[in-house]
Structures are given as structure tokens and as C-alpha cells.
Symmetry: C2
Subunit: 249 residues, 2 copies
């Protein structure tokens, strides 16, 4: 199907013809970005959406299932189709790769160290796709597993995507859910780059290790559902009793 064959009600943008189900996928994503349905809310059923978009129910199903694979939607048999919310154990584990040696993955506790506004230096600007000097928010946190500090985070956020965040009185532990609810920014994917470094005096002190001890350092770039780079993190992780877990399949 080239996009012109059927009379459907999707906004087909000009010449880049896509299969109908792909158009439905993008259209539904767009509607979520525009907050027609908010996180946690239920979508109309397949037949209603099919009627609205002018396609068959099977085509809607294919699109909704693809979005479910991408974790954008959650479907529950007998209940309905929902916009995924970054809450619940599964969603929280999804982007936290640090595990205590010999243990199963667990959820960490977070403690805010500081929250300030500053100007992007060259490195931050390059990573966030900003120009040097643009306003960014720097959020520093410590994270704990079993009440032992395991990770230090410096989180840089473009202020234009997070207006007013720096004045927020209280920032919850579940940051990605907070982005989603308060700034309509749903985290969609992340890229981590991992290196080994030696602890400097300050990090060693905060992590409870010695200066010069090996530390796992990973930087993260986070992309939202609508394709914006919304976060740049610099993480330093104790490596004596923790590791970074990756599955390829």
C-alpha cells in the first residue's frame, strides 16, 4: 500500500509513503505527544480507532501491537489499551543497569545533592545539542542500593524543555515518571557509553572508596518520544561490589 490507494483519515505527509499501519503508529504517537491521551489513560478500543482513522481493525491492531513492543502502550486482555506510564517495577528497572555483585537487580534509592541553574559548557552543549551558554539545569544525586551509596549522578537538563524545574520544591525519586507527568516528556530510549576511570578525591569521598580506586563511569543521552535529547548524565559507579548488566538478544 503506498498511502494513496485507500481513502483514510490520516495526515499522510506528502511523498514519503508509508504502510497504513506505520501511519497509524506515527499518528497515535503524535496524539500521545499532544496529550490527547495522558500517561495511564485508556485509548478507545480497536474498532473505534479503526473507524476514526478510516482503516480496518486489523491494521489498527498491528499498529497498537508495535507500539506495545516499543513500550509506548500497554495492553491488557479484557481491560483495554493504555498509554504507558514510567511507574511500576518493570518500567523502573528498564533504564537502571547497576546491580550488586551476586545479587538480583534491585531498585535503588535516590537522594538529591543539589539543584542549580547554569550555562552549558562546550561538552554539555555538544551532547545536548545546544549552543554554549544556553541555560541548563544541573541535578546532582546519590543513589543507594541496600542503603549503601553506589552511584553519583550529574544530570544536565536543557531548561527550555524543563521550564520552572529549578524552582520545584520537591523532586521525586522516579525522575523519568516526573519528566513524563510534569513536562510531558516520555523517555523513549537511552544511550550509555561506559568507561573505567580512577576515582578523584571528591568522588572517592562520596562513594566511600579511596582516591585512585577504579570506578565505572558512564554517560547517558536520553531521547524523548518525540525525538528530542532531553538529558545528559555523567555517572560514577563504585566497581568494588557492583557491576553494569547488559543483555543482548
Amino acid at each position: 500500500m503506498t498511502g494513496a490507494k485507500f481513502e483514510n483519515k490520516l495526515s499522510t505527509p506528502g511523498l514519503a509513503f508509508q504502510p497504513l499501519y506505520k501511519q497509524v503508529e506515527e499518528h497515535v504517537t503524535q496524539l500521545i505527544v499532544e496529550q490527547r491521551w495522558k500517561p495511564g489513560e485508556m485509548l478507545p478500543n480497536e474498532f473505534e480507532l479503526a473507524r476514526e482513522f478510516g482503516v480496518s481493525q486489523g491494521t489498527v491492531r498491528k499498529a497498537l501491537n508495535a507500539l506495545t513492543d516499543n513500550k509506548v502502550l500497554t495492553r491488557r486482555q479484557g481491560v483495554g489499551t493504555f498509554v504507558s506510564e514510567h511507574t511500576g517495577h518493570q518500567a523502573l528497572y528498564r533504564f537502571f543497569p547497576v546491580v550488586e555483585d551476586g545479587n538480583s537487580p534491585e531498585l535503588p534509592r535516590a537522594e538529591i545533592v543539589s539543584l542549580t541553574r547554569t550555562e552549558a559548557n562546550e561538552r554539555v552543549a555538544r551532547n545536548l545539542g545546544l549552543t554554549v551558554g544556553e541555560q541548563v539545569i544541573l541535578l546532582a544525586r546519590k543513589r543507594f542500593l541496600n542503603d549503601i551509596v553506589c552511584l553519583l549522578e550529574d544530570i544536565y537538563l536543557p531548561e527550555k524543555f524543563f521550564p520552572g524545574l529549578v524552582e520545584e520544591p520537591v523532586i521525586p525519586h522516579t525522575l523519568y515518571h516526573f519528566y513524563q507527568i510534569n513536562f510531558n516528556l516520555t523517555v523513549h530510549k537511552t544511550t550509555d557509553r561506559i568507561k573505567a576511570i580512577l576515582a578523584d578525591a571528591s568522588d572517592a569521598n562520596e562513594l566511600g572508596i579511596k582516591e585512585g580506586d577504579p570506578v565505572l563511569m558512564f554517560t547517558r543521552l536520553t531521547e524523548s518520544l518525540d525525538g528530542k535529547i532531553i538529558e545528559y548524565r555523567i555517572n560514577r559507579c563504585r566497581s568494588d561490589n557492583y557491576h553494569y548488566l547488559v543483555d543482548f538478544d
Copy 2:
């Protein structure tokens, strides 16, 4: 569908009812493990498979597409459906996460340092699911990016899964393809656990860095298509100019 409703020709194992398309998926996987079709070979078309299994073409399609998502099969429009081979750029990048800083992912060269038979010590046995003292093969390699050594690998293989490997006169660089072709072991997924350590004298010498420099160490467990753990790797990677790249989505 509970598995008993339709008269199909799949070996439904007793009571663990599965959807038909899931049964087809497992059956096709089993046939690949049994080498009814070898890597690179083409399967019969959807209608033929549907007739053979006693299900509809749409059900076969759903199963084959799922296996394609899992990289077990490769489908090409107008051509056919093929058993995936661990060759070709895409398949080779898939399990190699080390990238030179500031560069795009590239394929490394491999050089064999030694190939010996030994007995599994406690650590190796535990990771490979063997008993201490079982025969294992130890393959040590160096890997190069742009002709600079970046990674040292100690690869432990249970001899029972790789009979005769230790006498092989020549081992190719593309190990996972070699496992697949010569031992009918298709790598399906891997788990890496990453830590930061300090280089010991030997590793530092081989990697061209100084003793005590930070090094990225990651261990890998590799699982085959039929669910066996076939490989345990201990990797040490230069961290001065290289990093480990992970995407979550």
C-alpha cells in the same frame, strides 16, 4: 485457542497449551536446531509450511515474523525466508560493543594468542554450569581496532559442546559463525557484566598501557538457540580511548 481445538500437525506437548503461532515458532526453532535447514538455507514458503503444519498461512506468517524479530530468521521480500547466519556486517556488530572514542562502531580484527585444553576451576565451572574438573577449552585472543590492540579475551568453552575444537588447525576470526557452522551452535543471546579494574602487569603490557591504569573488564555468558550456555568470556578492554556502548529502548 487452547491447542486441542484445531487438528494441527504440531507436536503439542501435553498440557502446556500454547497459541498455535507459538507452537509453530517453537517447532520451526526445533527444526533449525535439528538442522533440517542449515544456516543460510531457504525455508519453504508460507503456504507450504502452513500445509505441512496444518495451520493457516497467516498463522505461519505470525510465527516467522516473530522469529525474524528474534534474528533467528531473515526474510527478504520477493526472495524468501532464510535461516540467519552469523555473518554479514549487521550480525557481526550485534555482539561487539566496544567503540573507539569519537568514532562510529567498527569491526575489530582478532588474533589468537593461545588455544589449550584444561580443567574447569570453580569459577569457570559455576559460570558454565559444569562440575569442577570438567574439560574446557581456553581460547585467548587479542582484538584490534585500527590496528591498535584494544581488548584481551579469555574464552572458555565446554569441550563437550565443541568436540575436537582444540585440535583445529585454523580458527577463523568470526567465532560465532564458526560455532554455528562447525558445531551447530547458534548464538542467541549474551549477558555482559561490566566492572572497572586496575590493569595488572601482564594485561598492561599486552594492552600497551601502564600497570594500574583503569581497565574495563566485562564477563560474558553466551546462550545458544537451544538454551545451552556455551561460552564464558573474560574481557579486559583499554579504557583510555575506547568505551562500551549500550542502547536501551
